[in-house]
Protein backbone atom coordinates (compact mmCIF):
# COMPACT_ATOMS: atom_id res chain seq x y z
CA UNK A 1 0.00 0.00 0.00
CA UNK A 2 1.29 3.42 -0.86
CA UNK A 3 1.96 6.01 1.75
CA UNK A 4 -0.68 8.65 2.45
CA UNK A 5 1.69 11.39 1.26
CA UNK A 6 2.27 9.66 -2.08
CA UNK A 7 -1.45 9.14 -2.59
CA UNK A 8 -2.19 12.75 -1.77
CA UNK A 9 0.43 13.87 -4.29
CA UNK A 10 -0.99 11.48 -6.93
CA UNK A 11 -4.54 12.88 -6.64
CA UNK A 12 -3.24 16.43 -6.39
CA UNK A 13 -1.43 16.01 -9.73
CA UNK A 14 -4.55 14.39 -11.26
CA UNK A 15 -6.73 17.29 -10.08
CA UNK A 16 -4.29 19.92 -11.36
CA UNK A 17 -4.01 18.22 -14.77
CA UNK A 18 -7.81 17.93 -15.08
CA UNK A 19 -8.42 21.55 -14.07
CA UNK A 20 -5.65 22.67 -16.45
CA UNK A 21 -7.19 20.66 -19.30
CA UNK A 22 -10.67 22.08 -18.65
CA UNK A 23 -9.27 25.63 -18.53
CA UNK A 24 -7.29 25.10 -21.77
CA UNK A 25 -10.28 23.65 -23.55
CA UNK A 26 -12.51 26.49 -22.39
CA UNK A 27 -9.97 29.04 -23.62
CA UNK A 28 -9.66 27.27 -26.97
CA UNK A 29 -13.44 27.18 -27.39
CA UNK A 30 -14.02 30.79 -26.41
CA UNK A 31 -11.19 32.33 -28.41
CA UNK A 32 -12.42 32.93 -31.93
CA UNK A 33 -10.94 30.04 -33.91
CA UNK A 34 -9.71 32.05 -36.83
CA UNK A 35 -8.57 35.56 -36.21
CA UNK A 36 -7.96 36.71 -39.76
CA UNK A 37 -4.85 38.62 -40.79
CA UNK A 38 -5.69 42.12 -42.01
CA UNK A 39 -3.75 41.42 -45.16
CA UNK A 40 -5.41 38.17 -46.24
CA UNK A 41 -8.86 36.85 -47.02
CA UNK A 42 -10.22 33.83 -45.15
CA UNK A 43 -13.06 31.45 -45.97
CA UNK A 44 -15.14 33.22 -43.30
CA UNK A 45 -15.07 36.53 -45.18
CA UNK A 46 -18.18 37.75 -46.99
CA UNK A 47 -17.20 38.68 -50.53
CA UNK A 48 -18.60 41.28 -52.89
CA UNK A 49 -17.36 41.54 -56.48
CA UNK A 50 -15.50 38.82 -58.35
CA UNK A 51 -14.30 36.11 -55.95
CA UNK A 52 -11.85 34.85 -58.60
CA UNK A 53 -10.04 38.16 -58.88
CA UNK A 54 -6.51 38.72 -57.59
CA UNK A 55 -7.30 42.30 -56.64
CA UNK A 56 -8.45 42.26 -53.03
CA UNK A 57 -9.74 45.20 -51.05
CA UNK A 58 -10.29 44.69 -47.32
CA UNK A 59 -11.96 47.39 -45.26
CA UNK A 60 -12.02 47.58 -41.46
CA UNK A 61 -14.95 49.73 -40.56
CA UNK A 62 -17.49 50.74 -37.94
CA UNK A 63 -21.18 51.12 -38.81
CA UNK A 64 -21.63 54.00 -36.39
CA UNK A 65 -18.65 56.00 -37.66
CA UNK A 66 -19.72 58.96 -39.83
CA UNK A 67 -16.56 58.81 -42.01
CA UNK A 68 -17.29 55.15 -42.71
CA UNK A 69 -20.63 56.09 -44.28
CA UNK A 70 -18.84 58.41 -46.72
CA UNK A 71 -16.46 55.61 -47.63
CA UNK A 72 -19.40 53.19 -47.91
CA UNK A 73 -20.71 55.27 -50.82
CA UNK A 74 -17.22 55.46 -52.38
CA UNK A 75 -16.75 51.71 -52.13
CA UNK A 76 -20.18 51.16 -53.68
CA UNK A 77 -19.12 53.36 -56.63
CA UNK A 78 -15.83 51.51 -56.95
CA UNK A 79 -17.60 48.15 -56.94
CA UNK A 80 -20.09 49.35 -59.56
CA UNK A 81 -17.20 50.25 -61.81
CA UNK A 82 -14.64 47.56 -61.06
CA UNK A 83 -16.70 44.80 -59.42
CA UNK A 84 -15.87 42.32 -62.18
CA UNK A 85 -12.14 42.79 -61.69
CA UNK A 86 -11.81 42.93 -57.91
CA UNK A 87 -13.17 41.48 -54.71
CA UNK A 88 -14.10 43.34 -51.57
CA UNK A 89 -14.64 42.27 -48.01
CA UNK A 90 -15.86 44.22 -45.02
CA UNK A 91 -14.49 43.53 -41.56
CA UNK A 92 -15.92 44.75 -38.27
CA UNK A 93 -13.88 47.12 -36.19
CA UNK A 94 -16.50 48.65 -33.88
CA UNK A 95 -14.93 51.43 -31.82
CA UNK A 96 -16.79 50.27 -28.74
CA UNK A 97 -15.77 53.06 -26.38
CA UNK A 98 -17.19 55.86 -28.53
CA UNK A 99 -19.89 54.06 -30.52
CA UNK A 100 -22.31 52.22 -28.25
CA UNK A 101 -24.35 50.65 -31.06
CA UNK A 102 -21.56 49.74 -33.47
CA UNK A 103 -21.12 46.20 -32.16
CA UNK A 104 -24.86 45.52 -32.27
CA UNK A 105 -25.00 46.84 -35.85
CA UNK A 106 -22.11 44.53 -36.77
CA UNK A 107 -23.94 41.58 -35.18
CA UNK A 108 -27.07 42.55 -37.14
CA UNK A 109 -25.17 42.14 -40.42
CA UNK A 110 -23.84 38.77 -39.25
CA UNK A 111 -27.35 37.68 -38.22
CA UNK A 112 -28.62 38.73 -41.66
CA UNK A 113 -25.63 36.93 -43.20
CA UNK A 114 -26.80 33.70 -41.58
CA UNK A 115 -29.84 34.00 -43.83
CA UNK A 116 -27.81 35.01 -46.89
CA UNK A 117 -28.56 38.75 -46.64
CA UNK A 118 -25.27 40.10 -45.28
CA UNK A 119 -24.67 42.74 -47.94
CA UNK A 120 -28.29 43.85 -48.03
CA UNK A 121 -28.22 44.50 -44.27
CA UNK A 122 -24.81 46.15 -44.58
CA UNK A 123 -26.29 48.67 -47.02
CA UNK A 124 -29.44 49.25 -44.94
CA UNK A 125 -27.42 49.92 -41.82
CA UNK A 126 -24.99 52.33 -43.48
CA UNK A 127 -27.67 54.16 -45.42
CA UNK A 128 -29.80 54.64 -42.30
CA UNK A 129 -26.97 55.43 -39.90
CA UNK A 130 -28.45 58.85 -39.09
CA UNK A 131 -31.71 57.18 -38.00
CA UNK A 132 -30.52 54.39 -35.69
CA UNK A 133 -27.36 55.97 -34.31
CA UNK A 134 -29.37 58.63 -32.49
CA UNK A 135 -31.61 56.04 -30.80
CA UNK A 136 -30.94 54.19 -27.55
CA UNK A 137 -29.50 50.66 -27.98
CA UNK A 138 -32.92 48.96 -27.68
CA UNK A 139 -34.37 51.37 -30.22
CA UNK A 140 -31.52 50.69 -32.63
CA UNK A 141 -32.10 46.96 -32.27
CA UNK A 142 -35.79 47.44 -33.13
CA UNK A 143 -34.69 49.46 -36.14
CA UNK A 144 -32.43 46.60 -37.33
CA UNK A 145 -35.32 44.17 -36.87
CA UNK A 146 -37.40 46.46 -39.06
CA UNK A 147 -34.70 46.40 -41.77
CA UNK A 148 -34.67 42.61 -41.51
CA UNK A 149 -38.41 42.55 -42.16
CA UNK A 150 -37.96 44.88 -45.15
CA UNK A 151 -35.34 42.49 -46.52
CA UNK A 152 -37.63 39.45 -46.14
CA UNK A 153 -35.42 37.99 -43.46
CA UNK A 154 -37.09 35.54 -41.08
CA UNK A 155 -37.59 37.90 -38.14
CA UNK A 156 -37.86 35.32 -35.37
CA UNK A 157 -34.58 33.74 -36.44
CA UNK A 158 -32.94 37.14 -36.87
CA UNK A 159 -33.89 38.20 -33.33
CA UNK A 160 -32.43 34.95 -32.04
CA UNK A 161 -29.24 35.33 -34.08
CA UNK A 162 -28.45 39.00 -33.50
CA UNK A 163 -27.40 38.44 -29.88
CA UNK A 164 -26.20 34.85 -30.36
CA UNK A 165 -22.70 33.76 -29.36
CA UNK A 166 -22.13 32.90 -33.00
CA UNK A 167 -22.72 36.49 -34.15
CA UNK A 168 -20.73 37.82 -31.19
CA UNK A 169 -17.80 35.53 -32.02
CA UNK A 170 -17.80 36.47 -35.71
CA UNK A 171 -17.64 40.16 -34.85
CA UNK A 172 -15.11 39.63 -32.07
CA UNK A 173 -12.75 37.66 -34.36
CA UNK A 174 -12.61 40.56 -36.80
CA UNK A 175 -12.30 43.12 -34.02
CA UNK A 176 -9.35 41.14 -32.58
CA UNK A 177 -7.83 40.96 -36.04
CA UNK A 178 -7.89 44.76 -36.20
CA UNK A 179 -6.46 45.09 -32.69
CA UNK A 180 -3.68 42.58 -33.36
CA UNK A 181 -2.96 44.32 -36.64
CA UNK A 182 -2.39 47.54 -34.69
CA UNK A 183 -5.28 49.43 -36.28
CA UNK A 184 -6.68 52.39 -34.38
CA UNK A 185 -9.08 54.15 -36.69
CA UNK A 186 -11.87 53.48 -39.14
CA UNK A 187 -12.11 53.07 -41.98
CA UNK A 188 -8.79 51.39 -42.72
CA UNK A 189 -8.21 49.78 -46.10
CA UNK A 190 -5.84 47.06 -47.25
CA UNK A 191 -5.36 46.70 -50.99
CA UNK A 192 -3.67 43.47 -52.04
CA UNK A 193 -2.23 42.98 -48.58
CA UNK A 194 -0.91 46.52 -48.17
CA UNK A 195 -2.40 49.14 -45.95
CA UNK A 196 -3.30 52.18 -48.03
CA UNK A 197 -3.80 55.77 -47.04
CA UNK A 198 -7.53 56.51 -47.22
CA UNK A 199 -8.17 57.99 -50.68
CA UNK A 200 -9.31 61.62 -50.55
CA UNK A 201 -12.03 61.19 -53.13
CA UNK A 202 -13.51 58.86 -55.70
CA UNK A 203 -10.92 59.78 -58.35
CA UNK A 204 -8.01 58.90 -56.08
CA UNK A 205 -9.73 55.63 -55.11
CA UNK A 206 -10.35 54.86 -58.78
CA UNK A 207 -6.70 55.41 -59.64
CA UNK A 208 -5.53 53.11 -56.86
CA UNK A 209 -7.90 50.32 -57.91
CA UNK A 210 -7.21 50.76 -61.63
CA UNK A 211 -3.45 50.54 -61.00
CA UNK A 212 -3.91 47.40 -58.91
CA UNK A 213 -6.02 45.78 -61.65
CA UNK A 214 -3.47 46.67 -64.32
CA UNK A 215 -0.66 45.31 -62.18
CA UNK A 216 -2.58 42.07 -61.62
CA UNK A 217 -3.13 41.69 -65.36
CA UNK A 218 0.52 42.12 -66.32
Amino acid sequence: MRKAGERFLFWLVVTIVLIGAIYGVYRAATTPADIPLPTELTSADQIKGNPESDVILIEYSDFQCPACVSYYYLVEEILNEFGNHMQFTYRHFPLKSIHDKATLAAQATEAAGMQGKYWEMYSEIFENQAVWSSLPVAGAENEFIKYAADLDIDQKQFIEDINSSKAENLVEAEFQSAVEGGLNSTPTFFLNGERIKNPKDLDEFRTLIRDAIEKANT
Binding site: F10, V17, V25, S43, S165
Partner: protein, 150 residues
Protein backbone atom coordinates in the same frame (compact mmCIF):
# COMPACT_ATOMS: atom_id res chain seq x y z
CA UNK B 1 0.35 -10.64 -5.30
CA UNK B 2 -0.13 -11.28 -8.99
CA UNK B 3 -0.92 -8.18 -11.00
CA UNK B 4 -4.44 -8.13 -12.42
CA UNK B 5 -3.47 -5.79 -15.24
CA UNK B 6 -0.07 -4.74 -16.55
CA UNK B 7 0.99 -1.22 -15.63
CA UNK B 8 1.29 -0.10 -19.23
CA UNK B 9 -2.26 -1.22 -19.98
CA UNK B 10 -3.96 0.62 -17.13
CA UNK B 11 -1.89 3.74 -17.82
CA UNK B 12 -2.75 3.49 -21.53
CA UNK B 13 -6.46 3.30 -20.61
CA UNK B 14 -6.08 6.39 -18.43
CA UNK B 15 -4.14 8.29 -21.12
CA UNK B 16 -6.59 7.52 -23.93
CA UNK B 17 -9.54 8.36 -21.66
CA UNK B 18 -7.86 11.68 -20.86
CA UNK B 19 -7.44 12.47 -24.57
CA UNK B 20 -11.09 11.58 -25.17
CA UNK B 21 -12.07 13.76 -22.21
CA UNK B 22 -10.24 16.78 -23.66
CA UNK B 23 -11.81 16.26 -27.10
CA UNK B 24 -15.34 15.85 -25.72
CA UNK B 25 -14.87 18.82 -23.38
CA UNK B 26 -13.95 20.98 -26.35
CA UNK B 27 -17.08 19.91 -28.21
CA UNK B 28 -19.18 20.56 -25.09
CA UNK B 29 -17.71 24.04 -24.62
CA UNK B 30 -18.40 24.80 -28.29
CA UNK B 31 -21.96 23.52 -27.88
CA UNK B 32 -22.71 25.81 -24.95
CA UNK B 33 -20.87 28.80 -26.42
CA UNK B 34 -22.64 28.33 -29.76
CA UNK B 35 -19.27 29.02 -31.38
CA UNK B 36 -18.14 27.84 -34.78
CA UNK B 37 -15.81 24.87 -34.86
CA UNK B 38 -12.52 25.77 -36.44
CA UNK B 39 -12.29 22.72 -38.63
CA UNK B 40 -14.09 23.54 -41.84
CA UNK B 41 -10.96 22.65 -43.80
CA UNK B 42 -11.40 18.98 -42.94
CA UNK B 43 -15.13 18.54 -42.77
CA UNK B 44 -18.50 20.07 -42.09
CA UNK B 45 -18.18 20.07 -38.31
CA UNK B 46 -20.94 22.51 -37.67
CA UNK B 47 -23.47 20.53 -39.68
CA UNK B 48 -22.85 17.59 -37.37
CA UNK B 49 -22.57 19.42 -34.06
CA UNK B 50 -25.68 21.50 -34.67
CA UNK B 51 -27.77 18.64 -36.09
CA UNK B 52 -30.80 17.33 -34.22
CA UNK B 53 -28.77 14.25 -33.30
CA UNK B 54 -26.29 16.32 -31.30
CA UNK B 55 -28.67 16.44 -28.32
CA UNK B 56 -30.44 13.48 -26.79
CA UNK B 57 -33.13 13.94 -24.09
CA UNK B 58 -31.95 17.53 -23.76
CA UNK B 59 -28.36 16.47 -23.00
CA UNK B 60 -25.66 17.31 -25.54
CA UNK B 61 -23.99 14.19 -26.90
CA UNK B 62 -20.61 15.84 -26.24
CA UNK B 63 -21.41 16.19 -22.52
CA UNK B 64 -22.23 12.49 -22.35
CA UNK B 65 -18.82 11.89 -23.90
CA UNK B 66 -17.18 14.03 -21.21
CA UNK B 67 -18.86 12.01 -18.44
CA UNK B 68 -18.01 8.72 -20.15
CA UNK B 69 -14.32 9.48 -20.58
CA UNK B 70 -14.08 11.01 -17.12
CA UNK B 71 -15.61 7.87 -15.59
CA UNK B 72 -13.08 5.64 -17.39
CA UNK B 73 -10.23 7.96 -16.40
CA UNK B 74 -11.24 8.11 -12.74
CA UNK B 75 -11.84 4.35 -12.73
CA UNK B 76 -8.35 3.66 -14.08
CA UNK B 77 -6.78 6.11 -11.63
CA UNK B 78 -8.69 4.63 -8.69
CA UNK B 79 -7.34 1.20 -9.64
CA UNK B 80 -3.81 2.59 -9.97
CA UNK B 81 -4.12 4.19 -6.54
CA UNK B 82 -5.97 1.50 -4.57
CA UNK B 83 -5.76 -1.72 -6.65
CA UNK B 84 -9.51 -2.04 -6.05
CA UNK B 85 -10.84 -4.59 -8.56
CA UNK B 86 -14.22 -3.05 -9.29
CA UNK B 87 -12.99 -0.56 -11.95
CA UNK B 88 -11.45 -3.49 -13.85
CA UNK B 89 -14.88 -5.11 -14.02
CA UNK B 90 -16.72 -1.93 -14.98
CA UNK B 91 -14.26 -0.51 -17.55
CA UNK B 92 -14.65 -3.35 -20.11
CA UNK B 93 -18.44 -3.12 -19.80
CA UNK B 94 -18.41 0.67 -20.24
CA UNK B 95 -15.98 0.63 -23.15
CA UNK B 96 -18.11 -1.98 -24.97
CA UNK B 97 -21.13 0.33 -24.70
CA UNK B 98 -18.95 3.31 -25.66
CA UNK B 99 -17.69 1.48 -28.74
CA UNK B 100 -21.20 0.46 -29.87
CA UNK B 101 -22.42 4.02 -29.29
CA UNK B 102 -19.54 5.36 -31.40
CA UNK B 103 -20.43 3.03 -34.27
CA UNK B 104 -23.93 4.50 -34.16
CA UNK B 105 -22.58 8.06 -34.21
CA UNK B 106 -20.22 7.36 -37.13
CA UNK B 107 -23.15 5.79 -39.00
CA UNK B 108 -25.22 8.94 -38.39
CA UNK B 109 -22.43 11.16 -39.73
CA UNK B 110 -21.77 9.09 -42.84
CA UNK B 111 -25.24 7.99 -43.85
CA UNK B 112 -27.80 10.29 -42.24
CA UNK B 113 -26.24 13.74 -41.80
CA UNK B 114 -23.81 13.21 -44.71
CA UNK B 115 -21.13 15.30 -43.07
CA UNK B 116 -18.08 14.50 -41.01
CA UNK B 117 -16.94 16.27 -37.87
CA UNK B 118 -13.26 15.63 -37.29
CA UNK B 119 -13.55 16.02 -33.50
CA UNK B 120 -16.41 13.50 -33.42
CA UNK B 121 -14.46 11.04 -35.56
CA UNK B 122 -11.49 11.52 -33.26
CA UNK B 123 -13.73 10.65 -30.33
CA UNK B 124 -14.88 7.53 -32.17
CA UNK B 125 -11.18 6.68 -32.52
CA UNK B 126 -10.49 7.11 -28.81
CA UNK B 127 -13.51 5.05 -27.76
CA UNK B 128 -12.46 2.31 -30.19
CA UNK B 129 -8.95 2.37 -28.73
CA UNK B 130 -10.39 2.08 -25.21
CA UNK B 131 -12.45 -0.90 -26.35
CA UNK B 132 -9.38 -2.58 -27.89
CA UNK B 133 -7.36 -1.96 -24.71
CA UNK B 134 -10.19 -3.53 -22.70
CA UNK B 135 -10.17 -6.56 -24.99
CA UNK B 136 -6.42 -6.91 -24.53
CA UNK B 137 -6.99 -6.83 -20.78
CA UNK B 138 -9.81 -9.40 -20.91
CA UNK B 139 -7.87 -11.83 -23.09
CA UNK B 140 -4.56 -11.56 -21.29
CA UNK B 141 -5.57 -11.26 -17.65
CA UNK B 142 -4.61 -14.00 -15.25
CA UNK B 143 -7.59 -16.08 -14.12
CA UNK B 144 -9.16 -15.45 -10.71
CA UNK B 145 -8.44 -19.09 -9.85
CA UNK B 146 -4.70 -18.64 -10.32
CA UNK B 147 -4.88 -15.54 -8.20
CA UNK B 148 -6.53 -17.42 -5.37
CA UNK B 149 -4.03 -20.32 -5.54
CA UNK B 150 -1.19 -17.97 -4.90
Amino acid sequence: MKKLIPNWLIWALAAVAFIGFVDASYLTAIHYKGAELGCNEWGSCNEVTTSKYSVIFGIPMALMGVLYYLAILIGALVYIDTKWKLPLILIPIATTFGFLFSIGLVYLQLFVIHAICIYCMFSAGTSTTLFILSLIYLFTRPSEQADICQ
